[in-house]
Symmetry: C2
Subunit: 413 residues, 2 copies
């Protein structure tokens, strides 16, 4: 019998509770798994879930001091008190399974060390990619391969919003409001739309894949809050779709670039057809070549399934996470050295006036495809370095307002 202490009874917690009770409580051919204590903030809160009162506690000590609990499943969210609870659980000799990407992104090495020192497992498959078993896949691939590239759509909310704008020809704010109404976006959507959620996920994946700790501050991050339907329409005219891409690259000189940016991607690509709340993760291994995983990136069942899968690994005594290493000491090189075409939109009330000052632009970018419509100018640049694009952006913001740009990806799967 495996005994679980569950921290948190939100969406994922309820999903875990249901799967464990429906499939693993009474089993003839597997070891039964039982949730013996559940930590909640407010015991008196009304819940739709059928749960016995004496399972619930508001006091973490009831779980950490319970010698019969083998595994702590931590699905609260936020940094504290969850970080403290995870540390205390590990120190108390309990295995920990968590879905908390914020904590793992910032404390991956400390927490894995703490688990090792206390001879227990720490697993966090649910922290990235929801139902996609991406962390265990990377660990498997690393046994034979070196990984030098990892890319993907890692946020269901923003992919849902971009899909809706594209399909229904609506504006960003309109779709966002609807997504908030139906619970697909948070009341404060900053973490999704400005890229913080994705940044944490790509930090975790790149850290594991490149065997080096990626500092969140080294991630080049741009939001998608100012993508308009016009941009998507323009992209479409050239055969592209706009997606929000996370990317980690490990260069030959052992330097890495990690970024989270809107991109234009060819319609005839796999990524461009990954829609709604689905996630996709592409991995380039030096033996296997390119491999790709697609699945639900969020949601109660997909995430809870990942948590329960981790629990089953722990129960089976398998601890592949102990194979993780972070000793390659790669350094960030920012986004330098990558050449791409860029799509640019600039708002201006006076085209002629802007055209005069655009000489500055022509200096930086020799060949431009240019079109003008309703007070807005749209460019596609020739292939330029990311650093050149940054300079160009600065110049453009000096002679116009509301400048949006996104690089164009022609070689993604």
């Amino acid at each position: 019998m495996i005994r679980i202490g569950l921290l948190g009874l939100g969406t994922v917690g309820q999903g875990v509770f249901e799967i464990v009770n429906e499939r693993f409580l009474k089993t003839s051919n597997k070891e039964p798994i039982i949730i013996t204590k559940v930590l909640v903030r407010d015991k008196s809160k009304k819940r739709s879930l059928q749960i016995s009162d004496d399972l619930i506690t508001e006091n973490f000590d009831d779980i950490v001091n319970d010698k019969d609990i083998d595994i702590v499943v931590s699905v609260m969210g936020g940094m504290e008190p969850e970080l403290t609870y995870i540390k205390r659980s590990l120190k108390a000799g309990k295995h920990v399974v968590t879905a908390n990407k914020e904590i793992i992104s910032r404390h991956i090495v400390d927490l894995l060390d703490l688990a090792k020192n206390n001879k227990v497992s720490l697993m966090f498959e649910a922290a990235v990619g929801g139902g996609i078993p991406i962390i265990s896949s990377i660990i498997q691939i690393l046994k034979t391969n070196k990984i030098n590239r990892i890319q993907g759509i890692l946020n269901g909310t923003t992919n849902y919003i971009l899909t809706k704008i594209t399909r229904e020809k609506r504006q960003f704010d309109d779709v966002l409001k609807e997504a908030q109404k139906i619970g697909f976006a948070e009341a404060d959507p900053t973490a999704d739309i400005d890229g913080y959620d994705i940044m944490r996920k790509i930090c975790i994946l790149s850290s594991i894949a490149f065997k080096t700790v990626i500092d969140e501050n080294n991630v080049h991050m741009r939001g998608i809050g100012n993508v308009t339907y016009e941009d998507i329409e323009n992209a479409g005219k050239h055969g592209y779709i706009i997606k929000y891409l996370a990317q980690g690259l490990l260069h030959d000189d052992n330097k890495y670039s990690v970024s989270v940016t809107p991109i234009l991607i060819k319609k005839a690509s796999v990524i461009s057809n990954v829609n709604e709340e689905n996630n996709i993760i592409l991995i380039q291994g030096d033996i296997i070549g390119e491999m790709c995983f697609i699945g639900k990136g969020a949601g109660k069942n997909a995430t809870a399934n990942a948590v329960v899968s981790d629990v089953l690994q722990v129960a089976a005594g398998i601890n592949d996470y102990a194979l993780l290493r972070f000793d390659s000491n790669a350094l960030s090189c920012g986004i330098d050295g990558i050449q791409n075409e860029y799509y640019i939109r600039v708002s201006t009330e006076n085209f002629d006036q802007f055209a005069k000052s655009i000489d500055i632009v022509y200096e930086s970018v020799k060949k431009l495809k240019l079109s003008y419509s309703k007070g807005k100018i749209f460019f596609i640049t020739e292939k330029i370095a990311s650093s050149e694009m940054k300079n160009l952006y600065t110049k453009l913001t000096q002679c116009a307002h509301d400048v949006f740009y996104a690089r164009m990806e022609n070689n993604l799967m």
Copy 2:
């Protein structure tokens, strides 16, 4: 130290030899793996591979009787003598890793039983999907989910041919000849083009996923040898691409349908953009929803990587294949009960004459989009059952020759 006896030094065998020697022979932090004997048909054959003469033998007894060999890696191809060698290895208490889909498709239960009875592992990740870790993924998914659908592009050669026809607007035979020239297709391409290779793979995947042994004779199989560029062009006009799809469905009444057929699939789908030698596998789990894997389906490195990954699992004492069960006793229901639109092409020299006899067609299929070009008639039917399409096909072949049809898939990822 893990000692391997390698059966076969063809493309995959060479790949295994290289990966093991380059990455696992001398390792500081892993247990070294060494290939101590290699079985070949002809010792005197000239090889590009650097291999010491005393490693090579023409006699299987040298391997099966060598007490120091822990794992037999079997990558010969064909049914015999490989099947006998695998059985003898298992009986001799050696773990077996194989890439042989023919053997596994027909003998999966016997061989897993034989492994179990001799307390060793039998693994065959490389038998399906090349570099895609699909069998281990299914085993993981089954721990928490019931799987009721598995679909995919499982043959690199035919996907390469269809991609070439589509992109380069060429005819089938022309592309096939080129593919044979560069080694992408066999001299006798029957196994690929008529679907036998895919049939074996979907049998293995469906057997595992549905926990029931799928008899090869219960697979509805149609080849792609009579797909023409015209068909692809016609499909394109309606927004579709032609792909060669393997499909296993488990219905609610515990009956299964397994098929290998050309299909028309919407251009704006993930599958339609899986090109060249890439494979894709989609799985529908009752908790995780739809999940999808893409990667190189064949080739030296991808397949050899899968073999070596299995070897590492065996070396680590992990035997997830022991979890496989085949006790659900589902029965085949053929392809009945599935409703689809169909694309049909019929050749006829005399349109008027055909038009008279086409009344038979109109009886079966009420609404038809019809076009006529250069002695060929193209239809798209309304939604009809597979059995109706079969009847229609019989009638069409009575009043015309060279009839091709493919179902249209609108709901695939």
